[in-house]
């Protein structure tokens, strides 16, 4: 690793420290006292554990070549999904990029359907047609994982446009990574969303790296939330390793948006423990950096908070762990035993017109 890379890694680090310091200051008073109900803490814990175990198992299955193609896992970023979901409504929409298994599970998509999708099976959430990058669930108001960096930013803006047009008070959470923040689609969307006061919550999951390129190497503006200022969008940075912090920020943003005031932008600072995708050895960062984040692991920290504050008993925690373990094993079995799609399925879902004249020879 070159010196520049180490330097940029450290800088990302310092950024994270700034957020944590700020949070520590504001949260000091209530840090020891749980601010939310037992159900809330346990649901955060359960969802984050579900995502963690799902992703660990997915990596294992990838190693066995049961899962193919690109596979970007969410390990380390679980608190983002947890904190968003507890702060919005089920009727709200979400659209995101290709690191999306956790987001879909957060929406309530089943482990079975998601795992079967990774296996490319007919029982998958999109019948084995999308794979790791493209889960969709109309039922869960989940508008998909998009494989083109930044493409979902205008799409999420359009989903929000439709909500406003229809006169609902739903919003659309439009998620993207730090890499996408450098695409033109972000700037065009921000401008129109603000100009038209669209009910969209933009969330950049800043995990520090666009594949192998650190945030600092892509711009002078490394505090991504500041990008909102060019368009007068209220924006803030949030500690993404803590579901409480995410929940609080998203709640604040959702209230603002539902009041008809227009978009809101959150930079949620998080970290991916694994490489960009399964094939990325992540040589561009230090082991120490990864370890440091793992010490602030959202799953472990939440578990500790629950136990230290007697929010729930060890038995209750263990019961959740057992439940999740069984659920994920069941999902893998389900995926294993499900059939692959029939080859004829290739000719479905291309057009709605039933007698579309395909060229077949």
């Amino acid at each position: 690793m070159s010196d520049t890379l180490i330097e940029t890694a450290i800088n990302h680090h310092q950024l994270m420290d700034t957020v944590t310091e700020n949070k520590k200051k504001t949260a000091k008073k209530k840090a020891d006292k749980p601010a939310y109900s037992k159900e809330m803490y346990l649901s955060w814990y359960e969802l984050m554990l579900r995502i963690r175990r799902f992703e660990e198992r997915a990596l294992m299955m990838y190693g066995q070549q049961k899962i193919r193609g690109f596979c970007h896992v969410y390990i380390g970023q679980e608190a983002v999904a947890a904190g968003i979901e507890s702060a919005i409504r089920r009727e709200d929409a979400i659209v995101t990029a290709y690191r999306q298994h956790g987001t879909a599970l957060g929406r309530g998509c089943s482990s079975r359907e998601c795992m079967a999708e990774l296996f490319g099976k007919a029982t998958g959430i999109v019948k084995g047609k999308g794979g790791s990058m493209h889960f969709f669930s109309a039922e869960h108001r989940y508008f998909g994982g998009n494989g083109i960096v930044g493409a979902q930013i205008p799409i999420g803006t359009g989903i929000a446009f439709a909500e406003k047009y229809k006169g609902t008070d739903n919003l659309c959470v439009t998620m993207f990574g730090d890499g996408a923040a450098r695409q033109g689609s972000l700037h065009e969307s921000f401008n129109m969303a603000m100009n038209w006061k669209l009910p969209v919550l933009y969330i950049v999951e800043n995990n520090g790296y666009a594949m192998g390129t650190s945030v600092k190497r892509t711009s002078n503006v490394v505090e991504l939330y500041k990008l909102g200022a060019s368009y007068d969008i209220p924006s803030e940075a949030v500690d993404g390793m803590n579901p409480e912090a995410v929940h609080e920020a998203v709640s604040r943003a959702a209230e603002f948006i539902r009041a008809g005031k227009g978009p809101y932008f959150l930079e949620i600072r998080t970290y991916r423990y694994k490489g960009h995708s399964v094939s990325d050895p992540a040589k561009y960062r230090t082991k120490e950096e990864v370890q440091e984040y793992q010490e602030r692991d959202p799953v472990k920290m939440t578990e500790r908070k629950i136990l230290d504050n007697n929010i729930a008993t060890e038995q209750e925690i263990r019961a959740i762990q057992e439940k999740i373990k069984e659920e994920i094993l069941d999902a893998v079995n389900f995926a294993e035993e499900s059939p692959y799609p029939d080859p004829a399925e290739l000719w479905n879902d291309n057009y709605l017109q039933p007698d579309y004249p395909y060229i077949r020879d």
Partner: protein, 328 residues
């Protein structure tokens, strides 16, 4: 003298040789420098040429493609790498509306000597957005030249020609075949843009293909040979300008043609080849030209659907026998 080189190494040699020869040549794209290239095509180039000439960009395809166009109009010779041509779709405005049009709209006052390169086509189970071929899209545009080639020796010679070319060139490679090895001559050589190569001579039928589909096409020719059918195999290498002559000369000899093209069938390269042959060799044809394309659908993720979608040797053999009126 020749040695075995992988496609990625041959492409790298081409860029290195041209960059040593001409200081105006530079490489720009996502992960090309410090990461050594998403597919390691530019491995080590940052060490030799430094960050002035090997330039990592943010994920901003439209922006950096346009910066390339501007630099080319102002005297440089950029090589713009796309991680895949699927992502280059964001940059098509700059490629189609600017790179391709500069010479015409400036009435020859400005040229745009730029190379846009990266992998095109399917690469395993990558699903709808990461599996498309773009040869026919770009080849449709006057002003552009389009190379699509996986043979390492040809790819090296063609890329060198592309870098020296004064017109904008789109080069389509293959994610799956960056490790594909072939004999590459030592020393300086160029392969001219616009010439197809006869990879295998034959008498009974002509098989025309390009890029990754050359592999199942040659496999099919082997299978046909075992059954006593002698297939001539042509690698187009360049899609625009298309080398009609090599194809037509072959069909005049074999009187039968199958085109194998990973693009979709409608308005694709296979359609253009078939047009050219009926136009210039109509009286020589003993059977209608046929083609093997990817299915006329998006490419889903599941392995069963990928198999159903892509051309393969069996499908090519079947098409060849149809054209020869042999029962399959």
């Amino acid at each position: 003298m020749a040695r075995k080189l992988a496609l990625r190494d041959a492409l790298r040699e081409a860029m290195i040789e041209e960059m040593r020869r001409d200081d105006t040549v530079f490489l720009m794209g996502e992960e090309v420098a410090e990461y050594d290239g998403a597919y390691k095509v530019s491995k080590g180039m940052l060490d030799e040429f430094g960050p002035r000439r090997i330039i990592d960009t943010p994920i901003a395809e439209l922006g950096f493609a346009g910066i390339g166009v501007g630099a080319a109009m102002n005297g440089l010779r950029p090589i713009v790498e796309f991680m895949t041509w699927n992502f280059a779709v964001l940059a098509f405005d700059q490629i189609v509306n600017n790179a391709a049009k500069t010479l015409s709209q400036s009435a020859g006052q400005f040229k745009c000597p730029i190379v846009f390169r990266g992998p095109s086509g399917s690469a395993g189970q990558l699903a709808q957005q990461h599996s498309q071929t773009f040869e026919s899209w770009m080849a449709n545009v006057p002003g552009l030249k389009v190379i699509s080639c996986v043979d390492p020796a040809d790819a090296k010679g063609l890329l060198k020609s592309a870098i020296r070319d004064d017109d904008p060139v789109c080069m389509m490679e293959s994610e799956l075949l960056y490790g594909f090895e072939g004999e590459v001559p030592e020393g300086e050589y160029l392969v001219p843009i616009g010439q197809a190569a006869v990879r295998r001579e034959g008498m009974d039928i002509t098989l025309v293909s390009f890029n990754k589909m050359m592999i199942p096409t040659l496999e099919a020719a082997d299978q046909l040979a075992k059954e006593g059918i002698s297939a001539e195999v042509i690698d187009l290498r360049t899609i625009r300008p298309l080398d009609y002559k090599t194809i037509v000369d072959s069909v005049k000899k074999t009187n039968r043609l199958v085109v194998i093209d990973e693009s979709w069938p409608l308005a694709g390269v296979s359609a253009e080849v078939a047009y050219g042959v009926q136009k210039y060799a109509f009286d020589y044809l003993d059977a209608p030209v046929t083609r093997v394309n990817s299915a006329d659908t998006s490419l889903p993720y599941a392995p069963t659907l990928v198999d159903a979608y892509l051309p393969n040797a069996d499908k090519i053999v079947k098409a060849a026998k149809e054209v020869m009126y042999i029962r399959y």
